[in-house]
Symmetry: none
Subunit: 241 residues, 2 copies
DNA sequence: TAGGATAGCTACCCATCAGTATGGTCGAGG
DNA sequence: CCTCGACCATACTGATGGGTAGCTATCCTA
């Protein structure tokens, strides 16, 4: 049964061409980081499937085909595990902000780009931890840390909205409420995505951006399209019934 | 006078916002239904404050100034308690659908009315239970029940969207994705409302409806400001640096 | 080949908490 | 005054699960 973990992680048996004495220990250090990441990833998957409180460390260990103390060898506590998952998810979104910061396009397009990355992140395997993790489950210190990260993202969105209103690419609106609405819609993806994976995270985000941009109320030229609309409507209702 | 527990828990403590029916028991006000509802309401409050798993039945009992067996006298299990809280929240939304069903206005306005009630419900004391309760915490039977109720609401929104597209009051769109976006934005209120109660649930819902209706892209002839945009953007990036 | 660091396991501890057994109090009806 | 039943408390059980102690095996460096 227990084949002594030689095959799963990395067969470091190859004769190394240059026998630098530090080579091996460096290799091992890298190995350790890889394993630690695997632990965090496995935790994220289990949390995603069953929720934080319904997942025991034995579950996570079993999923990795090791035992609980082994998990504790890479992580100090269950709480820290959740925290790491959270940070991993948030980092994707922070990267999105960094990516668009220097783009030479109107703010609305920068916002859209962020929202697309945002949606992808929420639909990723760390999405659940980032979105559904409750700070009540964490120590005050970690809770503060997480709140700060969330707030940073929130204010990043508000800022893009304000800039969009200023440069005329976004309809004047309340940045705070609008940011809440956008982030909420995207965050919520984490709640239903598991059960309906017919679309990728990017596709969902794209659809949402389209909805956010256009709004529900028909655009000015809508009256001109009424004939075509009616045709499509017929086809639709025929399909729906 | 019950000399046993009258003195320890500070007898003259009135400032509790929710009057506990056990206080009134001295006045012979014995109404089982009222007490049961008080139990559920207290549970909702505690779940809202600390989360389901971080709330023990002792906590809930203490909040009512009784003991755990008393709670079990009115409720069969913690799980059922969560379920009842959930149903109480969902019922508010179902009522919203019933209210608008017979209104003689375009579907978009009926949808808006539902969304307003929806937002209020999510910001109410049962909002957390309705939104953040994970079906992983419930037995399969109750989980199915809850999924059915959620699905009913989801399809109710989709239906209003379809009707709006048909009667021309809503821009043609994908009903499923749009429903997800709307419900997500509103559901998310439950995550941040506790910490920012500067607005009522109704006001938030109203703001969201405005955002959903108009969309981010400016209405009318606002798209040929690109020259001015560029200037403004330069100024901004200069400030940002 | 010794000795230390790395890495993982078995077996255990113990705090928490859902749920219960049992028995006491009090008002009402006889 | 006595009993019945509704209501509630004390004090317990049992299981789950986070976290640890301590042993073992392997590899690296000397």
């Amino acid at each position: 049964m227990n084949s002594r973990r030689a095959s799963p992680p990395a067969p470091g048996k190859q004769p190394v061409p240059v026998a630098s004495p530090w080579r091996a220990s460096r290799e091992r250090l890298r190995d350790r980081a890889v394993k630690r990441e695997a632990v965090i990833r496995a935790a994220a998957r289990e949390f995603n499937r069953k929720g934080y409180h319904n997942t025991s460390l034995d579950d996570i260990a079993a999923r990795l085909e090791v035992t609980k103390p082994t998990v504790y060898y890479y992580v100090t506590s269950k709480e820290q595990l959740l925290f790491q998952c959270f940070v991993a998810g948030v980092e994707q979104i922070r990267a999105a902000f960094r990516d668009v910061r220097h783009l030479e396009v109107p703010a609305r397009e920068r916002l859209n780009a962020v929202l697309r990355h945002y949606g992808e992140a929420v639909a990723s395997e760390f999405g659940w931890c980032m979105v559904r993790a409750e700070d009540q489950d964490l120590s005050p210190a970690m809770s503060r840390h997480i709140k700060a990260l969330k707030s940073e993202i929130d204010h990043g969105i508000r800022r893009l909205i304000r800039e969009g209103v200023q440069d005329g690419s976004i309809e004047p609106c309340d940045p705070k409420m609008t940011a809440f609405a956008l982030a909420g819609a995207l965050n919520w993806i984490a709640h239903w995505y598991r059960e309906d994976q017919s679309l990728t995270g990017a596709q969902i985000a794209e659809a949402f951006v389209t909805i956010f941009e256009g709004g529900l109320r028909p655009r000015g030229s809508a009256s001109r399209l009424s004939a075509r609309e009616r045709i499509r409507r017929r086809a639709r209702s025929a399909l729906a019934r």
